[in-house]
């Protein structure tokens, strides 16, 4: 301990406060490498970009192969196109089978179809 009694100088409060401040500065611990590493590890954990952590927190649905219509027009257009195609096939089949050609008999329906339109239900077709 250095003693001020050796100096017999005028007491200066500012000097005394400065001296104590220097003592406190010198006597205080400084961050060691371990503490700095822990603080920086905390920073690294906090700064993780959301996209980098998504792999562990979010599983994307498994991709399925798109249909031809979806590939060409997108899924909504593909769905509409598929419905339109189904409708067209239905209309086409309805035009082929004219109800007026079906006699109102007790014969089995299959035979009546064969009689009405051989092109559709004949042996070659089936």
């Amino acid at each position: 301990m250095t003693d001020a009694t050796q100096h017999n100088a005028k007491f200066d409060l500012d000097e005394a406060l400065d001296a104590l401040s220097r003592d406190a500065e010198a006597g205080s611990p400084r961050p060691g490498p371990d503490l700095v590493a822990r603080v920086l590890a905390g920073a690294a954990a906090e700064v993780q970009h959301p996209l980098e952590t998504a792999d562990t927190t979010y599983q994307a649905p498994v991709a399925r192969a798109p249909s031809v219509f979806e590939a060409l027009f997108g899924w909504t257009s593909g769905a509409v196109a598929a419905m339109a195609l189904s409708l067209a096939m239905g209309v086409g089949l309805g035009m082929e089978l004219d109800p007026g050609d079906l006699p109102m008999t007790e014969e089995p329906v299959t035979e009546q179809f064969e009689l009405a339109d051989g092109s559709l239900f004949n042996e070659d077709f089936l």
Partner: protein, 193 residues
């Protein structure tokens, strides 16, 4: 020396916080170099225990990292914000040290602990000054410590203590008068004229 909440330093801290929030790890290192020593020193002065002080400093810095993305530059200075966080964390630990006393009956923990300051004094004069600081009323002691030991400006001290700059000047003047009175009694024993 402590990282003082001066204008340039505050702007630099705010800029570094913004860079850190954007994912720049080098900004975290720069902020650690600037702010961690002061946080550790403050915690050490309040707690007088290095392990506890390191835990508090680490916790405070972690809170700063968490705050970075929502930090509003200009509303608060990182250094003063960190000082407040360290202060509160230390107060929590000091209260937990005395579990046998109900919280409402326990005296408010002192910031800083005068005994810690006395332990750090390297001369007889410094030891007497440290002891004298311990006798000051709480707000006078806080103002004096922030001014002389942390290097804060009077407006920053006022913001921290919730009072005007004039009130800070008054606190500091009264603290100095009381210290001068105490030291005049000890002057002869210390060998001063």
């Amino acid at each position: 020396m402590a990282v003082t909440p001066d204008g340039d330093g505050a702007e630099r801290d705010a800029e570094l916080l913004a860079r850190f929030a954007a994912g720049d790890q080098s900004a975290a290192r720069a902020l650690t170099e600037r702010l961690l020593p002061g946080a550790l020193r403050q915690a050490w002065r309040m707690l007088g225990d290095q392990v506890e002080a390191e835990d508090v400093a680490q916790d405070a810095m972690l809170k700063l990292w968490k705050q970075a993305s929502t930090w509003r530059a200009g509303e608060a200075k990182a250094s003063t914000w960190l000082y407040r966080v360290v202060h509160n964390l230390c107060i929590d630990r000091m209260r937990r040290r005395r579990p046998q006393v109900p919280v409402e009956d326990a005296p408010e923990p002192v910031d800083p602990d005068p005994s810690v300051l006395e332990r750090m004094a390297q001369s007889q004069t410094s030891a007497v000054v440290a002891k004298a600081i311990g006798t000051l009323p709480e707000r006078q002691r806080q103002a004096l410590m922030l001014r002389h030991f942390e290097g804060w400006s009077n407006p920053d001290i006022g913001a921290e203590l919730g009072c005007s700059v004039e009130a800070v000047e008054s606190l500091l003047a009264r603290a100095r008068r009381q210290l001068a009175a105490i030291m005049s009694e000890e002057r002869e024993a210390l060998g001063y004229d």
